[in-house]
Amino acid sequence: MSISVQNISKSYGPVQAVKAVSFEVLEGEIFGLIGPDGAGKTTLFRILASLLLPDAGQARVDGLDVVQDYKALRRRIGYMPGRFSLYQDLSVEENLGFFANVFGAHIRDNYDLIRDIYVQLEPFSDRRAGALSGGMKQKLALCCALIHRPRVLFLDEPGTGVDPVSRKEFWDMLRRLRASGITILVSTAYMDEAALCDRVALIQKGEILAIDTPRGLTAAYRHPLFAVRSDDMYRLIRDLRDLTPDADCYAFGEYAHLVVPGGGSPSAAILQYLEARGHTGVELLPVQATVEDSFIDLMKNGVWTT
């Protein structure tokens, strides 16, 4: 067991940011905390990185208590905060060198760990960190968090503000890191990133809704689901919500996803319904649920009951 969280709670004044959260992360696992902004992900990360004291509950990271053993713990973890937290006025090389020195590590000793990432940064090693693109900044921050070969890596929303190509590269790197035995706890608000984790916890308003593998989550999705589009998407979504009393419809990329609990409406009936409302260019196809569909269902219907 690499991370074990038991009934952790944390409040800021009257606002309860984390409510008795419990989960466990296995060694060498990529574990995703998936949830919208304000769900309590950052608070949970800070507690696990020993930066905040929980109001209640216990947490151990790599066998160390996050409150009592914080000094020893800080040598074993790599932490990448959600906001870019390197020195913008120092160059790429200086930033990396600084963090290596601070952790008493040598770049060359752990170079194998960061090589894949750092080769992309090397052409810019003299450039100030503040002048890097969003994707490059994230890669540099990851290098700095890894330079002392941590046992557990905390990445708080690494995908935010990064272009899709860089995000994909970033995740490829995380998978390679996992291969070297590092446990990775990553948070994100992007549902597509969830599918790349080994296991995910869906979190909302400080509570965990479900913990499962991405595949397990989508497999547990039991409602008929359709992707729909027409020439007037806005009206389409509004109309489809009135299809049956408990039908739901929401935008999903260039389509709208239509959920029909109970499954009483076959495709033909839906098409007929739309035609009667004057929709043109209608496309309707049954689809497999994604993590996002599961999450939306969970948010609406409360904790998973399977």
Partner: protein, 373 residues
């Protein structure tokens, strides 16, 4: 140790890459010394005066030329009538007017006494008093000469007390002697306290504090690592200010450079630890800046005895002024540079500063949070 040096090097880089910081560090001291040096001076030279002299006789002309050749006064205008006095003062053209009666020489010779009128512009009371005193002294001198002239070896010259004054350490009463120590105190406080108080707050603002906290750096390493570069730079500043004071303004250096250097280091360390103390409490750079500007700069200027003598302050302010390092540092610099005394006379002030430094570092360590919040 490697860890600590890495931190110090990083701090140096922050400083020399930020043009604003560099400007404050090295531009400001020079500008301040020069500004204070040339502007803030209570010596009076070439004050504009007007003279109304209807007699234009031997004695009045002689007194006039004696006044004007003193270097303190410059004849701005000769007035034709008493009516011209008021406009001249109103326009602010003159600071002082000297009015002779008609037949000044004659009256003086025959009656043995004559009247003179000095009119000062007391909208600036300090200047007016000083000018009147200067003029009075010159007139008194003139009077003595007059007596000696009229009866060269008269034993019956009126008995009088001749006061012989000597201003020790600063016979010419140069204002530099006061302002160079004052400005040094001020600049070191500004650079040391303000800059360091901003630097920790900046890490908090930019979010880098989070990363530093998660690192194995000890609080003391972070605090001292923040102060070390500024200590070095402030020392350079001290050298600059002392050199400017001596070369440009003729400030004397009668004591030992070594002692001065050590005392300056001590004072800087107090200021730095004060800055660190502020920044352990301030969340943003703005708050840190205001706290150090209002909480440190103003008292340093107003309460330390730099501009206004502490003895004439209300008791409450005198007590408060004891809490500011500047109050203890100014006597030290003055002692070393102007009086040339050694540690045997300055140990008390030095001890107070040392205790302050330890106190603030201790408080900062206690305030420094190992975690966020």
């Amino acid at each position: 140790m490697n860890r600590f040096f890495a931190f110090v090097i990083k701090e140096f880089r922050h400083i020399y890459r930020d043009r604003r910081t560099m400007l404050i560090l090295f531009g400001m001291p020079v500008i301040q010394v020069l500004l204070f040096g040339f502007v803030l001076t209570n010596e009076i030279k070439n004050a504009a005066i007007a003279i109304l002299d209807p007699s234009k006789d031997e004695a009045s002309l002689r007194l006039t030329s004696k006044l004007l050749s003193s270097g303190y006064f410059r004849l701005e205008r000769s007035l034709a009538s008493a009516d011209a006095l008021e406009p001249a003062f109103r326009q602010g053209k003159i600071k002082l007017a000297l009015v002779f009666p008609p037949g000044f020489s004659h009256t003086l010779r025959h009656d043995g006494t004559a009247q003179l009128q000095l009119i000062g512009d007391a909208s600036d009371p300090n200047t007016a008093t000083t000018l009147i005193n200067y003029a009075n002294a010159i007139i008194l001198d003139f009077q003595r000469e007059q007596v000696a002239l009229s009866n060269p070896n008269a034993p019956g010259a009126p008995p009088g007390i001749r006061v012989e004054t000597r201003m020790r350490y600063n016979p010419e009463q140069k204002a530099v002697f006061n302002f160079v120590p004052g400005v040094m105190t001020l600049i070191l406080m500004l650079v040391s306290a303000m800059m360091t108080s901003i630097t920790l707050a900046r890490e908090k603002e930019l979010g880098t504090m989070e990363v530093l906290l998660v690192s194995p750096l000890q609080p003391l390493q972070i605090l001292l690592g923040k102060t070390a570069p500024y200590l070095a730079l402030s020392f350079l500043n001290t050298v600059l200010v002392v050199a400017l004071g001596m070369l440009v303004f003729g400030m004397p250096m009668r004591g030992s450079f070594l002692l001065l250097g050590l005392e300056c280091l001590l004072y800087m360390f107090v200021a730095l630890s004060l800055g660190i103390f502020i920044s352990t409490r301030a969340k943003t750079q703005m708050v840190a800046m205001f706290a150090s500007a209002l909480g440190l700069m103003m008292p340093t200027i107003l309460l330390s005895g730099f501009l206004f003598p502490r003895e004439s302050m209300p008791l409450l302010l005198q007590i408060i002024s004891v809490l500011f390092p500047a109050t203890w540092f100014i006597p030290i610099i003055k002692g070393v540079m102007i009086k040339g005394v050694g540690l045997e006379y300055l140990w008390k002030e030095t001890l107070v500063l040392a205790l302050m430094a330890l106190g603030f570092i201790g408080l900062s360590l206690r305030n420094f949070k190992n975690r966020l919040e």
